[in-house]
Symmetry: C2
Subunit: 451 residues, 2 copies
């Protein structure tokens, strides 16, 4: 399915000259950011955004990898037949007005056409695809309102277009990186199972996140997840856990949410990690960028005692252990601390810790075989710390084979530093609790791989 | 204890001419932002930051409400005696080097002096006070690194200076408002019980938050909380819940963390709300700005179906109920929705909802007696919405007697709008789950008041 994400040639059917129209935004995305052949198709216009337009995709010269359809629902069957005749490899149908509003006959009609021509189709009633590497982007939401994240390693599939696109915007604000995003809507052809299979073998995807409301074929899906988990973590957020939620699912996408207990058992069996909220899903996903831990022993390093206390509590509550530094490490740490400070876990570098003390502490702890994971509580607000400490942390993480997560709550100054860490795939959290939870998720994935 | 927060006259003992020194930052805060008489005391300088300095507080003309001491630990007893002779009402001792580093004798010495003169003392080993209304501010962390929050209704006390000050910075970044903040350190005199009693009767405080590691006198403290809860909610985050955390507490502040089960029972009995993390504490606190709900029925309004599903799940999981709109409301809602959209709870205004549709939906739901609380999922990313919708929400909330929380995840554009809502005391959350959790906390406080 590479043609959806790295098409050599793209036709936008329903490309529009009018700002505010969906067909305007979709064509504009490709026009501005995409390198490859691009053709607007519009029955009424000679030119679209300065580019000569075609009346039909059949008039477009050469082969087409990807067609994006943004025309009214009733025109879709005819256009899809033309795509079939043109031997288009992949089609994204953005248009809505199918089974989600009760128009099942129209959806059956396009299913028959797809079967006849054997092309692959994402949608209808979806936002389609975004690929941060190729800039393939069928999202019709204006980029000044909906930011696109940087290149990264998290891929995300979502049955709900709104959930998916808002998550992209939220990720862009935080500096989180993404590889591929797919909103697959009514899934008349390409469904969650196909996408898991595809992403499992995709090289720029290190972790797969999925927002699901229902699943078309539970057994096939769980098998796909089981195979994927052997290669990379799969994190799932399931909507419709309760009866009320299931009802909401039915009126939203028309899916059957199914019994939550059945899902829960199936996710566990297949090795998927279940998240309780959108934020939790990406907390876990970001931790998965880190090396896998060899064991469950966490060393906490902090320049604020109270945050160390909260971290120690959470380490124990999540079933992890506090590491005990080796004798050698303890002596080395003692040498970099003020006289009155003790060597414990949490290791309190105390309030006057400067960039250098953090650098040295990381170096010592990084070498200690008694330590499996590092939680660094880095409070940027203290006077001795400069932005250089961020570079020290990034340099340390580049060489370290131990997983590292950072807790750095704060306002604009701290957020700038946190974003820099995130852009280097070092996950940053607002609280010790969420940082420890993410380490626990990483540890449980490492354990699952051993089984 | 008003003299700590609204002193008419302030002396900074150890006020410094050298940027980077604690005595520089503390004097600067008052000099720049505080209206009232202000005196630097410095044994070595004629002038501090352009202001004529005094050798001793005894040389300062007139009476002094508040003295702030930032000199080395060994000088504190002598200075404290001078404060006693001067009949200073309140003293904040920022200086560290007392029981927290094992120097118990020195701490006993200052306790004796306090008893002898009968003045009130906050500290030592603390950050002291911040009052957003009077700008009394003894925090020595540079304001370019540590933002101060706007005027608001949340007061926050913290045994840990780092936790407290970082929280202020984090709040300022989010647009949350604060009334008073106290970091009380070793609590040689003023302790958590005194502060709860004071804040319970403080007019600008609507909700009290506390980060505690240990409590000096459990019975007195719980009685103070019980009395406070009758007037306003008290939300507690307790460090040292586990054995590992308790050990960390001992090496941090030297307190005894005590058994978590005992604390848990005591908090429940006294009506305090317990938070699991710093973020959760302020999620709950922000919801407490809203009117109390009459019952447990939540109406969800959304322009993104998937987020509605997640909200519906969480409403049920937290033991709340989804409201059923009256027949009249249903008819009114039907009239503002597109033909194909149904009237359910979650009420999906669908993706093309504009400012006006949100305004009308809020108006209808706000009047419906079947609705006790409103969760508004407002996804700013869609094309039809403009910043005007924010004003509609603010205007609605000003008049409404039903509590309202908003879920608006997103990047920079959304964050700007969210901050505007926050500045009007409308709490905004990143996920439906956290928004519902906050409503549940508000509901449980309303129920506790009925008992």
């Amino acid at each position: 399915m590479d043609f959806f994400f790295k098409p050599k040639s793209v036709a936008v059917i329903g490309a529009s000259r009018k700002p505010g129209k969906i067909g305007y935004a979709v064509f504009r995305n490709f026009y501005e950011n995409y390198k490859g052949r691009l053709y607007p198709v519009n029955v009424n216009a000679e030119k679209v955004q300065g580019v000569p337009a075609f009346k039909s995709i059949l008039d477009v010269p050469g082969s087409i990898d990807l067609a994006v359809i943004v025309t009214p629902a009733e025109t879709v069957p005819r256009i899809l037949i033309e795509c079939g005749e043109k031997k288009v490899k992949g089609v994204v149908i953005i248009s809505s007005g199918f089974s989600e509003v009760g128009n099942k006959a129209l959806e059956e009609r396009i299913r028959d056409i797809i079967d006849h021509y054997g092309m692959r189709v994402i949608g209808p009633n979806c936002l389609g695809v975004f690929d941060a590497y190729s800039n393939a982007d069928t999202l019709f939401l204006p980029s000044e309102k909906l930011g696109r994240p940087r290149k990264g390693s998290i891929s995300f599939i979502s049955q709900s277009g709104a959930v998916g696109s808002i998550v992209l915007d939220w990720m862009s604000g935080k500096g989180y990186g993404v590889s591929k995003f797919v909103s697959y809507g009514n899934a008349v052809d390409v469904n969650e199972t196909d996408l898991i299979n595809y992403l499992a073998q995709d090289k720029t995807t290190k972790v797969i996140c999925a927002y699901l409301e229902g699943v078309k074929n539970g057994k096939k899906f769980m098998n796909a997840v089981r195979r994927a988990v052997k290669k990379k973590p799969v994190i799932v957020l399931k909507g419709g856990r309760t009866e009320a939620g299931s009802k909401a699912v039915a009126s939203h996408t028309g899916s059957m949410a199914g019994s939550d207990r059945v899902y829960d058992a199936a996710f566990k069996q297949s090795g998927a990690i279940r998240a309780g909220s959108m934020v939790e899903m990406f907390d876990y996903a970001r931790a998965m960028m880190q090396p896998l831990p060899k064991g469950n022993k966490v060393q906490v390093i902090t320049n604020g005692g109270g945050f160390g206390v909260l971290a120690a509590d959470q380490v124990v509550l999540k079933g992890l252990k506090l590491a005990e530094l080796s004798k050698k490490s303890r002596e080395q740490v003692k040498a970099i601390l003020p006289k009155y400070a003790g060597v414990h876990n949490p290791l309190d570098l105390v309030g006057d810790a400067d960039d250098e003390r953090f650098k040295n502490a990381l170096k010592i702890v990084g070498k200690d075989k008694n330590v499996d994971m590092i939680l660094l509580i880095l409070l940027y607000q203290t006077a001795p710390l400069t932005p250089c400490v961020t570079d020290h942390v990034i340099n340390f993480a580049k060489k370290s084979k131990k997983p590292l997560v950072v807790c750095s709550p704060g306002g604009p100054y701290t957020q700038l530093q946190a974003k820099k860490l995130e852009e280097n795939d070092i996950p940053v959290f607002d609280t010790p609790a969420t940082a420890v939870n993410a380490l626990a998720a990483l540890h449980s994935y490492a354990e699952a791989l051993k089984e």
